[in-house]
């Protein structure tokens, strides 16, 4: 079946070549737009390639990406830090859609990735409960399950953009501590109900089975709302780097709280004040005070293409593609600019649009070959608008490190090279 197409020109929607999103919504054809700087002369004659002349490879027990995609990998710093400490980053600029492949999902670990035998793993629920309980992974797997698509973003994502001068960084370096999976598991509320919550309980201290026994205090309200004990990630068992055999998912909340390798949940009246909720993951403000227990990852977006490292090949038509997300709900709108925020036009949002999940946005851009600064600005269902860097710094300063969610800017120079700038 043929789609109805429009042949009238697509009008500019904002300055410096941003075109109407109708091209995505209605399949309109851009008339008058030139090719992306490629030669419009005749193509080479077609020949039959060698892989059509002999049988291909056999089956594999677990499929791998094409060897030609070997550059699409997570990035992580070399020593001197001990192996497995710190973070590996998702190459968002090389990916499309909303789901992060499990093997490319960023990881943050505090003492490496433990190799856990699921038959020996246990989850205990205790503290202010009527019946302390222990669960095997097999027992957890017997409960009714639930799936949801949700992002996890490290509280330290985009930390580098606090720097006073813009650094030469790509999207993996600036935004690569965010990933999205379809997570499947058991509602935490089901298990807490089974244990029986004592009336004075207000917090749940979650602890991992890694060598750091990483631990965070979680409000009981969140635990009873939409917290999920995840056994599956994108259809298969959760990857070791993401918490095998069971991890906590707190949709929309700071990544560090989504405790991996979950082994213990202790209900208490007050928070434990662990290292990671006092000395880390607190936000030092302009004065001497620091915000503590900053739960939601607030509204944010980034243009993944074009972006630093992905050069444009001459003037012409380009799709601007990116991701927008909010820990407070669904994305309502994303605007894009090619003139550093002087003028904006709404991008097309690629469905499904789900709460606390990233949305892929797309905009059409006619690059005239001149300087441009590309930006995206997301608005969520709460009406919260992603701040400019100046607005962000005005509220809290730039000493806070964590939860940086200001608008990012990619400058395009005359050669088509993109770079991280503050605009």
């Amino acid at each position: 079946m043929f789609r109805k197409t429009h042949t009238e020109p697509v009008d500019p929607a904002a300055g410096n070549g941003i075109l109407s999103r109708r091209i995505f919504l209605e399949g309109a054809v851009v008339v008058g737009a030139t090719g992306a700087g490629l030669s419009r002369g005749s193509a080479e004659p077609l020949t039959v390639q060698p892989w059509m002349k002999v049988p291909g490879a056999g089956f594999a027990g677990y499929g791998q990406p094409s060897p030609f995609e070997s550059k699409v990998v997570k990035v992580f710093p070399p020593p001197p830090n001990p192996p497995g400490v710190g973070a590996s980053r998702t190459p968002l600029h090389m990916l499309e859609g909303m789901i992060t492949p499990s093997g490319l999902h960023f990881e943050r670990s505090h003492s490496g990735v433990p190799e856990i035998d699921p038959d020996q793993h246990r989850l205990v629920i205790h503290g202010l409960v009527k019946r302390p309980l222990v669960f095997t992974v097999e027992a957890l797997s017997r409960y009714p399950m639930q799936s949801r698509i949700a992002f996890i973003e490290c509280g330290g994502n985009s930390l580098a953009l606090n720097a006073p001068q813009a650094q030469p960084l790509n999207v993996a370096a600036t935004h690569g501590l965010m990933g999205c999976s379809e997570w499947t598991g058991v509602r935490l509320s089901t298990l807490l109900d089974e244990a029986g919550i004592e009336p004075e309980a207000r917090w749940v201290i979650a602890e991992g089975a890694d060598a750091a026994a990483m631990s965070r205090s979680i409000p009981l309200t969140k635990a009873m709302d939409d917290a999920l004990l995840c056994l599956y990630q994108n259809g298969e068992r959760v990857r070791p780097s993401n918490g095998y055999p069971v991890r906590l998912l707190l949709p929309g909340f700071e990544g560090n709280m989504n405790v991996k390798w979950l082994r213990r949940l202790k209900l208490t009246a007050g928070p434990a004040m662990t290292k990671d909720e006092t000395s880390k993951y607190t936000i030092l403000l302009k004065n001497e005070k620091a915000w503590q227990f900053v739960f939601p990852m607030e509204v944010k977006s980034v243009i993944t293409r074009p972006s630093p490292g992905l050069a444009l090949r001459g003037p012409g038509f380009y799709e601007i593609s990116g991701l927008a997300w909010s820990g407070n709900g669904s994305i309502r709108q994303v605007d894009v600019s090619a003139d550093g925020g002087r003028s904006w036009a709404p991008a097309a949002l690629q469905g499904p649009i789900l709460p606390k999940a990233p949305v892929r946005f797309r905009a059409a851009w006619q690059w005239n070959g001149g300087p441009a600064v590309l930006q995206s600005r997301a608005t969520d269902e709460m009406g919260m608008v992603q701040p400019t860097r100046a607005q962000f710094a005005n509220e809290r300063g730039l000493r806070g490190i964590y939860h940086y969610n200001a608008i990012a800017s990619w400058r395009i120079d005359e050669k088509g090279e993109a770079s991280n700038v503050y605009a």
């Binding site: 001197p80 830090n81 001990p82 400490v85 710190g86 505090h110 003492s111 205990v124 629920i125 205790h126 019946r131 302390p132 309980l133 222990v134 669960f135 095997t136 027992a139 957890l140 017997r142 409960y143 009714p144 298990l191 089974e194 244990a195 201290i205 602890e207 060598a211 750091a212 026994a213 990483m214 631990s215 969140k222 082994r263 213990r264 202790k266 208490t268 007050g270 928070p271 434990a272 004040m273 662990t274 290292k275 006092t278 000395s279 607190t282 936000i283 030092l284 004065n287 001497e288 005070k289 620091a290 915000w291 503590q292 227990f293 900053v294 739960f295 939601p296 607030e298 407070n328 000493r399």
Partner: protein, 179 residues
């Protein structure tokens, strides 16, 4: 009038409860609190969970030199592993427009966190290997290097939670958390 409705509600719940409970999957295995003890390493800021034992800064120095100094640096000031961060110093650097140096002394609000974290995660290459005495002692050493306690002050389950940290009042709630 005020009692009739609750009574009616209770009566109807009693009637349906056995049938409803039978529908709910329950696969957790009961465990006695004593059998959880080996796993229960959480310590509250009020000291809840701190074990018996004791230690002083003077006792802690040798443990620090042997087990901690390789990463955290001599006297906790210049860490050789960047991620480990400085443990000592930085007083006054939280002030506006200064570059903050966030250490145990300048930033951490509770001394109990030092015990909790050291016990669960340190030393990095062999976590959970220190005795309670050693953890109290090395905690005391780090607090003493920061000028918060004396070198002979005994740290134990009673005294550690009472240590007044310089930045204890430095934290405020985030104003935009979900209700």
């Amino acid at each position: 009038m005020f009692t009739l409705k609750p009574i009616a509600a209770c009566a109807s719940m009693l009637t349906i409860a056995p049938a409803a409970l039978a529908q709910v999957p329950q696969f957790g295995q009961p465990i006695a609190p004593a059998d959880i003890a080996a796993w229960d390493i959480s310590i509250g800021p009020d000291g809840a969970g701190l074990p018996p034992s004791r230690g002083t800064a003077i006792e802690g120095e040798a443990i620090y030199v042997a087990k901690c100094q390789a990463c955290h640096g001599e006297k906790g000031i210049n860490p050789s592993v960047a991620l480990s961060g400085a443990l000592v110093g930085g007083m006054g650097t939280l002030a506006p427009d200064k570059t903050p140096i966030k250490t145990v002394g300048s930033y951490w609000p509770y001394a109990t966190t030092l015990f909790d974290y050291t016990r669960r995660a340190m030393p990095f290459q062999e976590s959970k290997s220190l005795t309670a005495d050693e953890i109290y002692a090395v905690s005391a050493y780090i607090l003493n290097l920061n000028g918060i306690i004396g070198s002979n002050d005994v740290m134990d389950a009673q005294s550690l939670p009472k240590v007044r940290m310089p930045n204890q009042d430095g934290f405020i709630p985030f104003p935009r958390n979900p209700k």
